[in-house]
Symmetry: C2
Subunit: 149 residues, 2 copies
C-alpha cells in the first residue's frame, strides 16, 4: 500500500506546485500587461490609462513631487497639464519583476524612454492591490531617474 500512497502524495504536491506557479505567472503576466497598456497611452500624451488603473486612495511620487500626492483626485489634477505634452517615440521596459502575496503585488522595472535622439532612464515601482471586483489597481507609484554617477 505504501507505494501508491507515496505516489499519490507526490502527484498532489506536484500538482499544487504547478498550480501555484501558474497562478504566480498569471499574476505577473496580468500586471505587466496592465502596466504596458497604461504606459503605451502615457507615451502618446494620454494619462487616462494610469488614472483608470489607479485606486481612489493611490499615492504617488516622481522626481517633481516634493511630497507624496495622495488620492486619485489630486493625481488627476497633477496629470491634467501633461495631457498631450508627452511624445515618446520608443520605449524599452527592462527587467520587469512582480512579487505577489495574496491581494497585493509589487511590480518593479527600469525604463528607457526615447524622445528624438535623447534617452531618459527611469526606475519604477508600482504597488497593485486586488480589489473586491477582482481588478488589480495601483495603490502606489514611484518614478525616479537613474542619475549617472
Amino acid at each position: 500500500m505504501k507505494k501508491p500512497i507515496l505516489l499519490t502524495l507526490f502527484l498532489i504536491i506536484s500538482a499544487k506546485m504547478c498550480f501555484a506557479q501558474t497562478i504566480n505567472n498569471d499574476i505577473s503576466e496580468t500586471i505587466i500587461a496592465l502596466e504596458k497598456v497604461a504606459l503605451d497611452k502615457w507615451n502618446r500624451g494620454d494619462p487616462s490609462g494610469y488614472l483608470d488603473l489607479s485606486a481612489e486612495d493611490v499615492t504617488y511620487f516622481d522626481p517633481s513631487t516634493e511630497q507624496c500626492i495622495e488620492g486619485l483626485d489630486n493625481l488627476k489634477k497633477y496629470y491634467k497639464p501633461m495631457e498631450g505634452q508627452i511624445n515618446v517615440s520608443k520605449y524599452e521596459m527592462l527587467n520587469p519583476k512582480v512579487t505577489a502575496l495574496n491581494d497585493m503585488a509589487v511590480l518593479t522595472f527600469s525604463l528607457n524612454s526615447y524622445k528624438a535622439d535623447k534617452v531618459f532612464k527611469w526606475n519604477c515601482t508600482e504597488v497593485y492591490r486586488l480589489d473586491s471586483n477582482g481588478q488589480w489597481k495601483i495603490i502606489h507609484t514611484h518614478w525616479s531617474f537613474f542619475m549617472e554617477p
Copy 2:
C-alpha cells in the same frame, strides 16, 4: 426587544471598528518605528539596520542603480563601500504613511537629510512583508531625489 438588539449591534460594530483601527495603527507605528531605527543607524554610516530588516529576496532602487538590485547578498555588496561614509547631522521624516493589507504594507515618506549646511530632499517607498516568524521585513526599497523644477 428592539432597542437592546440595536444597542448590542451598535456596540459590536463599534468594538470591531475600534479593533480594526487599533490593528492598523499598531502596524503603522511598528513599521515606522522599524524604519526609524534602520535610518538612525544609516545616518551614522551603519547599513546593518537596513540589511537586518531586509528579506533575502529584497529588491532595491536608488538614484545610482541603473537597474534593480536583486537579493540581500547583492544589497550587502552594494552597501559595503558606504560603511562609515555617511554622516547625517539631522534628518526630518516627513508625512510617513502606511497602507497595509493582510501580510504586506507600503510605507511612504519624504526625508530631509542635513549634512553641514546642505539639505538633501528624498522620497522613499518601502514595501514590507510579514514573515512566518511574525517579523516585518523589507521586500522592496525605492529611494529617489526630489528635483527642483
